[in-house]
């Protein structure tokens, strides 16, 4: 895919770990926010324990860490519009989409209508989407 003389690549950021036990979740989010400046085709995946990163109503007071779960709502501002949630990962943890934050973006080409960024996807379908990527980062 080309946009003028700039080549746009498909970048996928794969998040598989719980949000606060390690630094991976926050690091991934920071990398994504920086990468968003380069106008590439970006998608995020939350699978395995990574689905916990998007849990609604997080409270980090007891663990003494910054509650960066609020930052995911800013992804729409950064033109990140594809956030895949692996269905089996949710089910294996007794969760459903209703337990997660509602993430949206404003569609510039549709009079700034708010649209869902979250895409529920099966493990099998996700494998296909991964296959289409130019670059996959795993966190």
């Amino acid at each position: 895919m080309e946009d003028g003389d700039q080549i746009i690549k498909k970048f996928m950021y794969m998040n598989r770990k719980a949000p606060y036990g390690t630094i991976y979740a926050w690091e991934s989010l920071e990398v994504v926010l920086i990468a968003a400046a380069f106008d590439q085709d970006i998608s995020l995946v939350f699978a395995d324990d990574g689905v916990y990163q998007l849990m609604d109503g997080q409270n980090t007071e007891e663990v003494g860490m910054k509650n960066f779960s609020k930052t995911y709502s800013a992804l729409g501002d950064y033109d990140i519009k594809k956030i895949y949630i692996e269905q089996e990962s949710l089910e294996e943890r007794g969760l459903s989409l209703g337990d997660l934050q509602d993430l949206k973006y404003e569609d510039e080409d549709d009079d700034w209508a708010e649209k869902d960024s979250i895409i529920l996807i099966s493990r099998a379908e996700l494998a296909k989407v991964i296959d289409e990527q130019d670059v996959v980062f795993s966190f």
């Binding site: 400046a37 960066f68 609020k70 930052t71």
Partner: protein, 110 residues
């Protein structure tokens, strides 16, 4: 490093960003700007207050591109341009305004 306001001392990092953002008061922003040789007017404060609200909501300082778009939406199209923001904050709108707002240096900052 530290900055002194009204006889009280506030810790900053080596680039002058406030260490503890809970300590911030508007007087600190003004003092930092004076130290940089450019006092703040109401147009500066619009942007600084916007950044503080953005941080409160999203826990990050927005990248300059995001800031520009959001300012345009909130304060009017004539203000949502990088020209306008760079005139107010010649050292880089996100970077300089965040400093006065007592926020950490923005991720991937300009």
């Amino acid at each position: 490093m530290a900055i002194e306001v009204d006889g009280q001392s506030y810790e900053t990092d080596e680039e002058g960003y406030l260490e503890d953002l809970n300590q911030w008061r508007p007087e600190l922003g003004s003092a930092m700007a004076m130290a940089d040789g450019a006092p703040l007017d109401e147009n500066h404060w619009e942007v600084i207050n916007f950044l503080r609200e953005y941080y409160e909501e999203y826990q990050i300082a927005p990248a300059v591109r995001v800031l520009t778009k959001a300012i345009g939406k909130k304060l009017g199209k004539d203000k949502g341009t990088s020209k306008y923001l760079y005139e107010l904050f010649p050292y880089g709108p996100a970077k300089q305004a965040c400093k006065y707002a007592g926020l950490p240096k923005p991720t991937g900052c300009v």
